[in-house]
């Protein structure tokens, strides 16, 4: 299940269309503490969080996350969106909570 399919299946809002829409998503992870995320996000994961500062993008990029999914309709700044575009990171948004969002992604991955 790639990032594009997850986006379409769950009707996620695309905040930034990154360069990795065809990446096959390995797993889904939930975390808002950046150092915990930094040490534990597996490569190619979908990372669900409500933390939407610039540093979230750095962690996503450095850990090779497939995409960031902002839960609970988390708002972003123009600076955040511009940085995501510059770094080619796919950022999506869900109106659902962290658990519901992650569970839906998990179900899609497991369905394959």
């Amino acid at each position: 299940m790639n990032v594009r399919s997850i986006t379409e299946n769950l009707g996620l809002e695309v905040i930034n269309l990154g360069s990795g829409m065809d990446i096959s998503v390995s797993s889904v992870e939930c975390c808002d503490l950046l150092s915990i995320a930094m040490g534990n996000l597996p490569p190619d994961c979908a990372w669900v969080t409500v933390m939407s500062n610039i540093n979230t993008l750095a962690v996503a990029s450095l850990t090779d996350a497939a995409c960031v999914i902002l839960a609970l309709n988390t708002q972003v700044t123009d600076e955040f969106t511009n940085k995501a575009a510059e770094a080619g990171i796919t950022v999506l948004r869900s109106e659902d909570g962290i658990f519901e969002t992650a569970l839906a992604v998990h179900d899609l991955i497991c369905r394959e």
Partner: protein, 145 residues
Amino acid sequence: MCDHQQCIHLTYNVSGDDFTTAGEASSNFKKKLMDLGVDRKTIRRVSISMYEGEINMVIHANGGVIDAYICTDHIDLILKDQGPGIPDIDKAMQVGYSTAPAQVQALGFGAGMGLPNIKNNTDDLSIETELGVGTTLRMRINLED
């Protein structure tokens, strides 16, 4: 011992208290390693270690300098700052221990995972610190065969 005479040497200046540019040094070094064809697993270990060190410089030490050396069978990172120093290294190495101020914790930092993450992702780590003078972290990550 590697004297770094035959290694690729890159230097990065890290600004203090600037969270908008925090991570740029690590991101730029990651790109360099990708260009050189270093394997993904090693790049990930380097990225995590360097980013954690870089963030510590931003949070605690008003910035610093990172010297990165790409050698034939390993990568060395030397992070030097002129910050306040670490009063208790053993405590600082403990998972969950943090002295990050509240405004930094609000950004998602301060989980007390910085140095433990570095230790977990390096093959060798040494910390020299002196109160009121600064801290130098030396990290080595061996390249995969």
